[in-house]
């Protein structure tokens, strides 16, 4: 991946070094596979959080948020990972009224992160 060409467009809360390190570890194949998995699974986990909130299923919210912490974080998605951590904490502490705002924020962050990953995928 041409880092200098791409880094100027990357939001500050996404760390491109994570994809670089994945490429160093396992080449483009590993990085592409992990990005591909996230592009599918990340959206599913957000859907689970949203549905869990609608149905008051806090364990489902907690579990999906917990998975997102590492799945996004492994690829440098710091804001998605941090917001997932906040949602997990809110679910554990049963602070349901704080989750909708966090969900709105994480959906925006996820859109930016997915856009970054889709762009990165073309250069891997």
């Amino acid at each position: 991946m041409n880092e200098q060409a791409n880094n100027s467009k990357i939001p500050a809360d996404i760390d491109p070094l994570f994809l670089t390190r994945l490429q160093e570890l396992g080449g483009s194949k590993l990085a592409s596979e992990l990005v591909g998995m996230y592009l599918t699974r990340g959206s599913q986990l957000l859907d689970t959080i949203s549905t869990g909130l609608d149905t008051n299923d806090l364990p489902a919210v907690k579990n999906a948020a917990h998975s997102l912490i590492s799945s996004a974080g492994n690829l440098g998605g710091k804001r998605v990972s941090d917001l997932a951590k906040s949602i997990e904490s809110a679910a554990i502490e049963e602070q349901i009224d704080t989750i909708p705002e966090l969900l709105s924020k994480i959906i925006s962050a996820q859109e930016a992160f997915q856009q970054y990953l889709q762009g990165a995928l073309e250069h891997l």
Binding site: Y38, S70, G73, N74
Partner: protein, 123 residues
């Protein structure tokens, strides 16, 4: 090549751990603790990386069962977890884990060094 096990239900975490350690160790993996407890006694592994948040039976319960099993109770077990709040490391060490490593995995070499150190200490 020495064998180690990883118990992890998140497929991308599992893929990453196998990429980090797979050239150094023969890897045995399980998606949940129940399968791990059933399979590990016959696998002759040197160490277990154990996720905390597992479906049906969490990592702490898996560890408790391992410590009651004559074939597994002496194995070093590293907690592999996204529970990374202040005090979490102490909490899991008190529950009997031998080490604690947080996800997302930021430092690949730190994980390799921890696994090597734990296996060396075992011998």
């Amino acid at each position: 090549m020495k064998r180690i096990a990883v118990v992890e239900d998140n497929p991308d975490n599992l893929m990453l751990v196998e990429a980090i350690l797979g050239s150094l160790y023969e890897m045995v993996s399980y998606e949940n603790g129940i399968d791990a407890l059933a399979g590990l006694p016959d696998e002759n592994v040197e160490l277990v990386l154990l996720d905390i948040s597992l479906p049906r039976m969490d990592g702490v319960a898996v560890l408790e069962s391992m410590r009651l099993d004559d074939k597994l109770k002496h194995l070093p077990v590293i907690a592999l977890t996204a529970h990374a709040m202040v005090g979490d490391r102490e909490k899991y060490m008190e529950k009997g884990f031998d080490e604690y490593f947080t996800k997302p995995i930021v430092d690949f070499n730190a994980l390799i060094e921890m696994v090597e150190r734990m296996i060396d200490q075992k011998h």
